[in-house]
């Protein structure tokens, strides 16, 4: 009796329930320790001289640079050139996104598992093995291509296309289109995989063909999300298009690159302001279209 009473409070202590097992503490220490090691290793490797940056000399240099940015050069020629650059950047992002849509739509229907070889649409079919693998072939190819397009960054694509087609905005369009095509293909594919099967089933029960099911059962479901993703990528692309010029693909980036290289700080500020206006305008436009279309 006495024994059980002395044991009782410990077992009834409500806080014991909340105590975590010891193992997770160990894990925390291991993670924190390795994080610290990672930071030290990286700090050494990346040749950071924060002390130098925040020394009197470093801060002074930064202040001088900032002072030289003002006032922005608002002369007519510079403004007109900046406007031309902004329009070129806009054109690149616009056409690049369109091209990405075309690439993504061409590939995504092959890259969606339940459109090509499995799931509801194919469950009635006799399952001969080689037939299935023939259907899987385009699926694997499409997936592979999309992955490849997505993995190579836009800037690297731009560098490649500048070599292939020469300087100017056209390689920028191609770079944006190819990379974003891979990204949109993946996003579209995820949407297609999440399609609600009920409308498809009911269409199938009325005897609709696969193409009819695609147009009347699947596309209406996925279109709003497709549009939403397209607009999102467009917002990303306008930012990328603004720097593609650094590797020779025209637009605002090229002018910014020149302005920094030649120490034309006043012009640089003008260009950055134009860039800000452009990006903000595209964000608003995209938000407006999203409201109207979805």
């Amino acid at each position: 009796m006495n024994d059980s009473q002395s044991r009782l409070p410990a077992a009834a202590n409500p806080w014991d329930v909340h105590r975590e097992p010891r193992g997770s503490y160990l894990w925390t220490y291991v993670i924190l320790g390795s994080l610290l090691a990672l930071f030290v290793w990286s700090y050494r490797g990346s040749e950071v001289h924060l002390g130098h940056l925040f020394s009197q000399e470093g801060v002074g240099q930064i202040l001088i640079y900032i002072r030289r940015l003002f006032p922005p050069d608002l002369s007519h020629g510079v403004l007109a050139d900046a406007a031309m650059g902004a329009m070129e950047t806009f054109a690149m992002s616009f056409l690049g996104t369109l091209m990405a849509i075309v690439i993504a739509l061409l590939l995504v229907f092959f890259a969606s598992r339940n459109l090509v070889f499995s799931g509801l649409l194919y469950e009635m079919e006799e399952t001969s093995r080689w037939r299935r693998s023939i259907r899987m072939l385009p699926y694997l190819c499409a997936k592979g291509i999309l992955n490849f397009l997505r993995t190579v960054p836009e800037m690297v694509w731009a560098l490649i296309f500048v070599f292939l087609v020469g300087l100017g905005p056209f390689p920028g369009v191609l770079a944006l289109g190819v990379h974003t095509g891979g990204v949109l293909g993946k996003l579209f594919g995820e949407v297609l995989d999440d399609v609600d099967p009920q409308p498809i089933e009911s269409l199938q029960s009325t005897g609709a063909s696969r193409i009819q099911i695609l147009f009347y059962g699947i596309l209406p479901q996925v279109l709003p999300q497709f549009i939403s993703y397209i607009l999102y990528r467009w917002e990303v692309n306008i930012r990328v298009a603004a720097v593609l010029g650094f590797v020779g693909a025209g637009g605002l980036g090229q002018r910014i690159h020149i302005a920094i290289s030649l120490f034309l700080e006043n012009q640089l500020l003008t260009l950055l302001m134009v860039l800000y206006v452009l990006v903000t305008a595209v964000d608003y436009l995209s938000a407006y279209l999203r409201r109207r279309m979805i």
């Binding site: 990346s46 040749e47 930064i62 070129e88 054109a91 993995t151 560098l159 070599f163 720097v243 800000y276």
Partner: protein, 279 residues
């Protein structure tokens, strides 16, 4: 009165179509698009030269051992860059959160009735937002190139560029996370007489931590991709090597470097998913 079948005339689709078409035509001209370029002789030749040059990839030990260092450098830049971004983004994000600075239950006792206090705090909030927005609106590439000019070539300008640009992005998202905090636990703590710091540590911090860690990890993944290409403007890492190989027309080296980049990005994604799973 029923008017089924009578639809209101919608102007929007027509206007949208018109503007879309005009923009398309104008952009087409402006971007000097040449659809058939790759079917022309010059385009075909360039394409062939590039694709045939890419294979076989350069897997000789000399080259791989030389590239090992830049690949690690890319990771290091991304880690320290993200760390600096957190150091910039966290305090500015705190100041850019209206519910912490001048609004809501944490402040109502102090701010109420005092216009000067309120406006001082609002000014702080506004300044933090402005700085974050400035950091964010200039692309990483522009930051990187400006820092290359300021502190010279090497990985350091890359670190600074990622730190500043990502600091702006992190600060904004942090402040959004902070504002979405559930205020009920804070109020409960306040009613027990906890002071501000205690409320902050016990009521507020546990709520925001998982989201913050998860978003920071996501940004780190982005930082790896970014630091790999910041080298194009001279900020170290793999990007510099990719650019050099491209300019020297050593396309078989480009293939190798892209393969390394792919492996690195995949590894980082894997690690960050693992850590996220532990949260």
């Amino acid at each position: 009165m029923l008017d089924i079948g009578k639809r209101r005339f919608a102007l929007f689709p027509y206007l949208f179509g018109l503007f879309f078409f005009i923009t398309l035509l104008d952009s087409w001209q402006r971007a000097e698009v040449n659809l058939l370029f790759f079917f022309e002789r010059q385009g075909r030749e360039h394409l062939w030269r590039f694709v045939s040059g890419m294979f076989p990839p350069d897997l000789s030990w000399d080259f791989l051992s030389l590239m090992f260092r830049p690949a690690l450098e890319t990771i290091q830049i991304s880690v320290i860059g993200t760390l600096i971004a957190v150091l910039i983004g966290f305090p500015l994000g705190l100041l850019a959160t209206s519910t912490l600075v001048f609004r809501g239950i944490l402040n109502e006792a102090e701010v109420e009735g005092s216009v000067t206090r309120w406006s001082l705090r609002f000014l702080l909030y506004f300044l933090a937002r402005a700085v974050l927005s400035l950091f964010r609106c200039i692309p990483e590439f522009v930051w990187a190139f400006m820092f290359v000019r300021a502190v010279g070539l090497g990985p350091f300008p890359g670190v600074l560029a990622i730190g500043v640009a990502y600091g702006g992005m992190l600060g904004k998202v942090y402040s959004e996370i902070f504002e979405s905090v559930n205020t009920a636990p804070l109020e409960a703590l306040q009613s027990t007489g906890a002071n501000k710091l205690q409320i902050f540590i016990y009521g507020w911090f546990p709520q925001v931590l998982p989201n913050i860690v998860s978003y920071t990890l996501y940004r780190w993944e982005c930082a790896v991709r970014t630091s790999a290409i910041l080298g194009f403007v001279g900020a170290g890492g793999l990007g510099q090597q990719i650019e050099i190989s491209m300019r020297m027309f050593n396309f078989h080296e480009v293939t190798t470097l892209l393969g390394m980049l792919f492996l690195m990005v995949a590894a980082v994604d894997y690690i960050s998913n693992k850590v996220r799973g532990l949260l």
